[in-house]
């Protein structure tokens, strides 16, 4: 499914960027190919915040985001998907979800999805439990547009 997702070159307010974590990836899977797009990602200029504590003092610094950091991020997403029985995504992409017409912005749509998911009772603990909930919530929100 992931490789069937169309590539877009430009930003649009009708496509909202998913969170760069397993949660965002699983929402994307629940949305399905027709409601998903991707564009090439870049870590250029990205940084990591480092804090060193010694003797009650904390010293903060900023370092470049490395290829190993990228691997940590991608591995964590793959691990989350794997637990849900979902195949790993191709790496090197930003993933975007379609925003229905009845939402004023991508953020408004993402907020609605998260609000509905986070009010689920009982709340699943594992990604495999969340997948069915996400498919129900996202599918229902798309019914209106």
């Amino acid at each position: 499914m992931w490789t069937d997702v169309s590539v877009v070159e430009s930003n649009s307010d009708r496509w909202a960027e998913l969170e760069e974590n397993g949660w965002g990836a699983l929402i994307g899977w629940a949305a399905g190919t027709a409601n998903l797009r991707r564009r090439p990602s870049s870590d250029e200029g990205r940084s990591v915040t480092v804090t060193v504590e010694r003797g009650g003092a904390a010293i903060a610094s900023v370092e470049p985001f490395t290829t190993d950091d990228r691997i940590i991020v991608d591995d964590s997403i793959d691990e989350y998907l794997q637990e849900a029985g979902v195949p790993a995504r191709p790496r090197g992409w930003v993933w975007l979800i379609r925003v229905p017409e009845n939402y004023p912005s991508g953020q408004a749509f993402l907020d609605r999805i998260n609000t509905e998911l986070n009010s689920s009772q009982p709340a699943p603990v594992r990604p495999s439990g969340w997948l069915a909930v996400m498919q129900e919530v996202v599918g229902r929100l798309y019914e209106g547009g």
Binding site: E19, E20, N21, G22, W23, V48, T49, V50, T51, V52, E53, R54, G55, G56, A57, I59, S61, E63, P64, F65, T66, D68, D69, I72, V73, S76, E79, Y80, D111, N114, T115, L117, N118, A123, V125, R126, P127, W130
Partner: protein, 210 residues
């Protein structure tokens, strides 16, 4: 300081010195915080951080380091030395990585033998703490016992992933890696908590590292 006091059992980490048995062998559990002026800590102490494929290559020598890798991932490493009245027996590292997904934390932890006798870690858990006006425990997640020694591949142990509870309240949170370790041929030591970087769960939306 522990050697000056001839303490029979002590652990030293970034927060300070914990003496669990004094020179007379009495259980005392005294803690002395380190003074920041005891060190010439600078950002250069993190020079090895780019080499992330090996957790044993960064943040050594009695420090605690946090790396915020993204809005949803941060890792914390602590290094501790322990000993008795004769001096340092050994030291080890503990690493705690937090992944945030929705309003839940996931944790992976690792212990690494640095030197000294083989270490057995027991009563190990990752504790989720809600940092409200009075701290609230949001989960105690036990981990199996593990032994690490000098001999590859057991010098390092990676624990399995922990899936935390849903965090309903709007508060800052952190996790703490807690363990008791027993060096071969020595009594058990209680390690100081290794506290993760703090993260925020807002009134609505998902949790993140600020």
């Amino acid at each position: 300081m522990a050697l000056k006091q001839k303490a029979q059992q002590w652990v030293c980490n970034a927060e300070g010195l914990t003496v669990t048995k004094d020179a007379a062998g009495q259980t005392v559990n005294t803690f002395t915080a380190k003074k920041s002026t005891d060190y010439t800590a600078t950002a250069t102490t993190t020079n090895g951080l780019a080499v992330l494929d090996d957790y044993d290559s960064w943040c050594e020598f009695g420090t605690v380091c946090h790396r915020k890798i993204s809005n949803y991932i941060a890792e914390t490493k602590g290094n501790a030395a322990y000993g008795d009245q004769s001096g340092v027996i050994g030291n080890y590292d503990a690493i705690l990585r937090t992944n945030l997904n929705g309003r839940q934390g996931q944790w992976r932890s690792t212990v690494i033998w640095d030197n000294g006798p083989a270490l057995t870690f027991s009563s190990t858990q990752v504790q989720c703490v809600e940092d409200s006006w009075a701290p609230i425990i949001c989960g105690n997640h036990g981990l199996p016992n593990a032994t690490v020694t000098t001999y590859s591949p057991t010098w390092r142990h990676d624990y399995g992933v922990i899936y935390g509870n849903l965090l309903n309240n709007a508060d800052p949170y952190h996790a703490a890696f807690q363990t008791i370790f027993t060096p071969a041929g020595y009594p058990a030591y209680r390690a100081a908590n290794l506290a993760s970087m703090s993260f925020t769960c807002p009134s609505s939306g998902n949790c993140y590292f600020p």
